[in-house]
Amino acid sequence: MNRKTWAALLSLCLLALWLLAGCSKKEAANEEQPATESASAPAPTPIDPATAASVSGSVKFDGAAPKPAKIDMSQDPACKGSNNVETLVVDNGNLANVFVYVKEGLGNRTFEVPKTSAVIDQDGCRYHPHVLGVMTGQNVEIQNTDPTTHNIHPTPQANREWNESQPPKAAPIEKTFAREEILLPVKCNQHPWMKMYVNVVKSPFFAVTGPDGKYELKGLPPGDYTLAFVHEKLGEQDQKVTLAAKDSKKVDASFKQQ
């Protein structure tokens, strides 16, 4: 009989242990606080203008540039002037229409969206500019100064697609792009040659090279950055640069015909 009593006692002990374990577990769970989400939007990260650095440079095209083809615009008599294919604009070895921006190195910084609108103008059945940089959420204003109807049709990957008609002299169309996207094509279905690219980035540190191939990024806080040079035809090049306070460095890039 003792044997049995012992067995029963043993099981009782186990039970007690188990109960204890169960209780302690519960207490532990209660100590944890329920999650609360931070609802407020992140405020722009301030940059000390005293330490701001800058990067500038020029972009070259290596090799002989093909002569830009002329576009036949006879399809629409309303398209005046002459128009060249803008996929590769090289002047004296200087490559235009290269979008330069800080690809990495800004961490989680956020920036204020400029109040001014970026403008795309349709004039002479071509887009001005051919390559545009904007910040996410920045207003883009599309104007039509041609005496013909255009339709503006961006075909993005990450943003929403739309396609709107704009008769001559119509009010400008105002749009924003919510998500980062590089080389977002915009076209006009009625004038198949019309094409441009919008680059949407999260920071204000971007530039498009002009006909002289030059660019400049100002107001950067010190740090290690990756600069990206993006060209619609020639692809992307990345370069690393380290900026100390008030630095102003030169970073050049050079593209080759592929």
């Binding site: 009989m1 009593t5 029963a8 006692l9 009782l12 039970l15 007690a16 109960l19 169960g22 519960k26 769970a29 944890e32 606080q33 329920p34 999650a35 609360t36 989400e37 609802a39 399809q75 629409d76 008599p77 309303a78 005496p147 013909t148 109807t149 339709n151 503006i152 049709h153 075909t155 697609e161 739309w162 396609n163 709107e164 008609s165 704009q166 008769p167 001559p168 119509a170 094509p185 076209k187 279905n189 009625q190 198949p192 094409k195």
Partner: protein, 1085 residues
């Protein structure tokens, strides 16, 4: 006894059991408490879940509420809201004095009514009691006396003291009258109050509507309601009980967030300070697809019909999810969750709702596309042969009935002739006539069945090539190399690897070669390979076929990869095939079970001509198989184009065809029988047409309910133990191992999922280690599927269950939804989705190709609203002949500007009917379609419309084709002249108002019209004639388009000054094509 015993206490009597009892009772009590604890907590883990949910959800609600308040604030700060609020305030102020006055009156009145009521009801009760006594009094005198009493009582005056302390006396009649009057007054006043308040309530409702229209989530008040509900939450079982279907699902006892009106994510339910959501947080999320729940109301469906598991169990996670040994319906794994769709939607081919359903749809498609149903029967797949059989059966029955009827009719007429009276004779005659009419109806029915049989014959397809043409088509020496391991030659091929040994390869190829047809093919001129390449890349071949290998691969996987086609194919055959793949070398007669040749036709003096119009066997009149049983359509290429493409393809090779080792053993007649044996053994005829195997049955098991097969019936062979216990995965071949969706097994995989996945990844795995003869080995070939495909097929098979749900839960609709079900089978059969988008979010093969990236207008049209867009009768014509012309066929009928070509599929009447109904049903359009009457425009209206049509603000003809070649070169939209027959006016109006809503990404821009005072007005400048025009401008334009004549279009185009006149139908060189015979042709209208 030597000594006097010392008196001693008797141990039996004195022994105390107190300690024993105390200990035993203590333990007993402890076990009792244990049992109680077990009952209330140990067996109720969901209580902990509910406590946890309460805490976390309340915290979540608090943040949600502040967010909601934020957005409500934003809404209430808008000017629109302010305006509405203003309106509301004004209305309230305006109504206030009147409302106050009425309310004052009402409260006075109520007091008066109360005063009268107190007296009146008391007196009425007495009078009623007295009346009852009169009614029931048996004696007339008693009645009279009591009546007197009653009258006296009614005449007696009663005093009513009104609230203003004035007193008045009434007799019963007056009292009643006063009471009713007062009540009428009250009703009238209440109505007046409502009237006075009406503008206020309306303004208030508008205000509320504005908020609810603009709030994406719940309002703070609603969230507060939720908060209150859960703040006072007491743990309780939450269950769905559907008695009819024996569904008891208590899943929500733990998964409390599933149906919450707020979207709950695991991250939101994670405790602060924890990165990863714990078990609780993962359990508390809301259902990922609420739309799905709207269709499948959980109150009717519960959870387990879709997800399985043990809905009743609440004692532990394993029990509730059914993941224990003895539960037959364990929860579908997350990766295969869509298997649940199959349990009820077995009849659907495409099952997509939002994000859900792509996997199971893919699995269902793969089952057919990969030829699984060549060996495995599965209910719903490959129905044509079965339907054909039932059709034959029914025809037989009807013919018997007809015979009986005519017999009876003859006998009736005989009776009529000998009838005694005329009336009787007439009766007999009439009966006889009725029977003859019945027979004529039967004739009609039989005719219909005949048509359908004809269609079914046409609909029967095989996924693999016709091997009767092997001698005409293939490089002989290539065949054994291919059979040995098809993937060595073409890594993406559908032809699976049967693990044949050399003897089997030799004998099989010998049989095929020796039984192949030896007819001669017309010699073809060499074509222009460069032009062929361009055609191949632009005509749409790549929607089904692919070219290039590995990372260079481009195109679809529906059909063969053509990278090395030059090594195997015969040029002449290739030309014929490209020009019209359906063209058959010899027709096949299923009745005689042989291929009919010219000699058979000659015997009966008939020309050797067979096509869809000439499909009767010359020997016995039975329906012939006159087409190749391939789904490859005709692209209506000119013979030269076909030659060009073939010339291009024949250059596609890695090695010379002549470099293949000699395979003259294929002529060895001795191998033939052996080959026949192996072909039968491996079920080659499931996918291929092979001489002598036309009637071959399936060799595999029926998979219709494979998912509910008892696990013991799935043969894990030597790996039963390994599967039950986990451990190293038995698959060692790295290629096959890479196919397993979850990678090599990490734990036990002794379940259906594990079996299906392993079997699909390496079909011979359950032969491994076994010693078997060639005949006994598993025959299932390696389909070299990738992880996603295996996942999809496993999902499909897991869902293939014999369900215990009532039949009403099966999705077998009989209305237009059935048309949708049936249509998808055809859409998938012909790979329509390779070119066209049917469902938002569905990608097509062509959409993914680089060449269309910048010229999306060159893509085939999206068919998202096709049924609403086109006239079904036109659609039928278009589908049967996409050129919309019998002469000018080398073009697209609607969009001549597209390089990619809508092919001619030679749909049978049956499939045409189903497809048209499918598109109509998909867009909720009624059938038959009665076209809307378009009003004839007045001359003035025509002028106005023309001004819109040719406005520089909407230069329609800039993009739309006009029929003028020079102009159409740049056109990106169809010709308006087609509209009248093709389109539905209501759709056209919707289209021009907002094309982006109908076909996202279309070249047609939005914003041509704008809404102005409930009228659609042209967005560009309009001439003065539009002054005071009240109809929608868009409507006007549509009417104009539907009345557009070629002349008018010509005129307008001319006026716009750029285009030349639209000429009459162009005369392209029509070269008669002299092949054997054309098997294509439009479906007979």
């Amino acid at each position: 006894m030597p000594e006097q015993p010392i008196p001693e206490q008797d141990p039996v009597v004195t022994k105390s059991y107190a300690v024993h009892y105390v200990v035993a009772m203590a333990i007993l009590l402890a076990t009792l408490f244990w049992a109680l604890w077990d009952e209330s907590f140990g067996q109720r883990p969901w209580k902990a879940f509910q406590h946890e949910f309460k805490d976390r959800y309340l915290a979540f609600l608090t943040t949600a509420k502040s967010k909601s308040q934020q957005s409500q604030k934003e809404i209430t700060q808008s000017s629109d809201y302010a305006r509405l609020e203003d309106n509301y305030k004004q209305a309230r102020q305006g109504a206030q004095p009147r409302v106050d006055a009425i309310q004052k009156q009402l409260s006075d009145l109520n007091a008066r009514i109360l005063a009268v009521q107190n007296v009146f009801t008391d007196r009425r009760a007495y009078a009623n009691a007295l009346t009852y006594q009169i009614e029931t009094d048996p004696s007339p005198s008693g009645k009279k006396n009591k009546q007197k009493d009653l009258d006296a009582y009614k005449a007696k005056l009663a005093t009513v003291e009104f609230p203003d302390h004035s007193k008045k006396q009434f007799n019963y009649g007056q009292l009643e009258e006063t009471y009713n009057q007062l009540r009428d007054q009250r009703t009238a006043l209440s109505a007046e109050l409502g009237e006075a308040l009406k503008p206020v309530t309306e303004a208030n409702a508008k205000l509320a509507e504005y908020v609810s229209d603009h709030m994406v989530d719940l309002t703070p008040a609603q969230i507060e309601g939720l908060h209150k509900k859960y703040a006072d939450w007491d743990p309780k079982i939450l269950q769905i009980n559907v008695a009819d279907a024996n569904i008891v699902d208590r899943c929500e006892s733990c998964h409390m967030g599933i149906r919450e009106p707020l979207k709950i994510t695991a991250a939101a339910m994670t405790l602060k300070g924890h990165k990863k959501p714990d078990e609780y947080a993962q359990a508390f999320v809301s259902h990922p697809d609420t739309d799905l729940l709207k269709v499948h109301d959980p109150d009717k469906f519960g959870c387990s019909p879709c997800h399985q598991g043990n809905g009743r169990a609440t004692t532990s996670l394993e029990k509730a999810h059914g993941n224990y040994e003895h539960w037959l319906w364990p929860l579908f794994p997350k990766a295969n969750v869509e298997a649940g769709c199959q349990t009820c939607h077995a009849a659907d081919m495409v099952l997509v709702s939002g994000d859900v359903g792509w996997t199971i749809s893919e699995g269902k498609d793969l089952f057919r596309q990969k030829g699984c149903n060549g060996c495995h029967r599965y209910e719903g797949y490959d129905k044509e042969p079965e339907e054909l059989q039932s059709m034959t059966q029914q025809i037989k029955l009807l013919e018997q009935q007809k015979k009986d009827n005519s017999k009876q009719s003859a006998s009736l007429m005989k009776q009529a002739d000998t009838a005694e009276t005329n009336a009787e004779a007439t009766r007999f005659n009439e009966q006889a006539i009725a029977l003859r009419v019945t027979n004529s109806k039967i004739d009609g029915q039989v005719q219909q069945f005949d048509f359908r049989s004809h269609s079914l014959m046409q609909d029967m397809k095989k996924i693999a090539p016709n091997l009767k043409d092997i001698r005409l088509k293939l490089n002989k020496n290539w065949i054994p190399v291919w059979l040995k391991k098809p993937t060595d030659f073409r890594p993406t091929t559908k032809m699976p690897n049967f693990r044949l040994n050399d003897e089997q390869v030799h004998s099989i190829s010998a049989y095929l070669w020796q039984t192949g047809l030896t007819d001669s093919l017309p010699k073809q001129k060499a074509g222009n390979a460069a032009h062929g390449k361009e055609l191949f890349e632009t005509r749409g071949c790549l929607a089904c076929h692919s070219i290039g290998e590995g990372s260079q691969l481009e195109g679809g996987t529906f059909a063969a990869n053509l990278t090395r086609v030059g090594e195997k194919a015969n040029y002449d055959y290739l030309v014929r095939w490209i020009h019209n793949a359906r063209e058959r070398t010899r027709p096949y007669c299923p009745y005689e079970k042989k291929d009919i040749g010219p000699e058979d036709y000659a015997k009966h003096g008939l020309p050797y001509q067979f096509d869809l119009q000439h499909s009767q066997c010359p020997n016995d009149g039975h329906e012939l198989q006159v087409q190749n049983m391939t789904v490859m359509p005709s692209l209506r290429l000119s013979p030269e184009d076909a030659q060009d493409i073939a010339s291009y393809l024949i250059t596609q090779k890695k090695q010379e065809p002549s470099s293949y080792a000699d395979a003259s053993f294929m002529d060895d007649a001795k191998l033939r029988d052996e080959g026949k044996k192996w072909i039968r053994h491996f079920g080659c005829a499931g996918c291929h047409e092979i001489s002598g195997f036309e009637e071959e049955g399936r060799i595999g098991t029926d998979l219709t309910v494979e998912g509910s097969k008892p696990i013991e019936r799935l043969d894990f062979a030597l790996y039963t133990e390994a599967a039950q216990r986990g451990g190293k995965d038995p698959i060692t071949n790295p290629d096959d191992l890479a196919r397993l969706p979850g990678g090599p097994a990490k734990g036990p995989w002794y379940d259906h999922k594990g079996f299906f996945e392993h079997k699909l990844a390496e079909p011979e795995i359950f032969d491994k280690g076994k010693i078997k003869s060639e005949e006994e080995k598993l025959r299932m070939p390696n389909l070299h599927l990738d992880q996603e495909q295996i996942r999809a097929l496993t999902t499909f098979l897991l869902g293939s269950q014999e369900t215990s749900l009532p039949a009403s839960y099966q999705y077998n609709p009989s209305d237009t939804r059935k048309d949708i079900q049936e249509g998808w089978w055809i859409v998938r059969k012909y790979n329509c989705m390779g070119c066209h988008q049917f469902i938002p979010g569905q990608g097509t093969i062509l959409m993914g190709m680089a060449q269309y990236k910048d010229v999306q207008e060159q893509l085939p049209p999206k068919l998202l609203t096709e049924g609403a867009r086109v006239d079904p009768e036109w659609l039928r014509r278009f589908l049967s002949n996409p050129a919309l012309s019998t002469t000018d066929t080398n073009r697209n009928g609607v969009r001549p500007y597209l390089k990619v070509r809508m092919p001619t599929f030679s749909f049978s009447d049956n499939e045409l009917r189903k497809l048209v109904r499918f598109f109509q049903a998909l867009s909720q359009q009624p059938i038959p379609y009665v076209p809307e009457q378009v009003p004839t425009l007045t001359a003035k209206e025509t002028d106005m419309a023309r001004s819109l049509f040719s406005s520089t603000a909407a230069p329609c003809l800039k993009c739309h084709a006009t029929g003028d070649d020079a102009h159409d070169l740049h056109a990106t939209a169809p010709n308006f002249l087609l509209a009248r027959e093709r389109l539905k006016p209501d759709w056209v109006e919707r289209w021009i108002l907002d094309p982006q809503a109908i076909s996202p990404g279309t070249a047609m821009p939005s914003g041509l019209f704008r809404r102005e005072n409930s009228q659609w007005v042209f967005a560009g400048p309009t001439p003065s004639s539009f002054q005071g025009y009240t109809r929608d401008h868009s409507k006007l334009l549509v009417d104009y388009i539907f009345q557009l004549t070629p002349e008018e279009q010509h005129r307008v185009a001319g006026a716009m000054g750029r285009t030349r006149a639209a000429g009459p139908a162009r005369n392209r060189d029509q070269q008669a094509w002299h092949g054997n015979a054309s098997a294509t042709g439009g479906g007979s209208p």
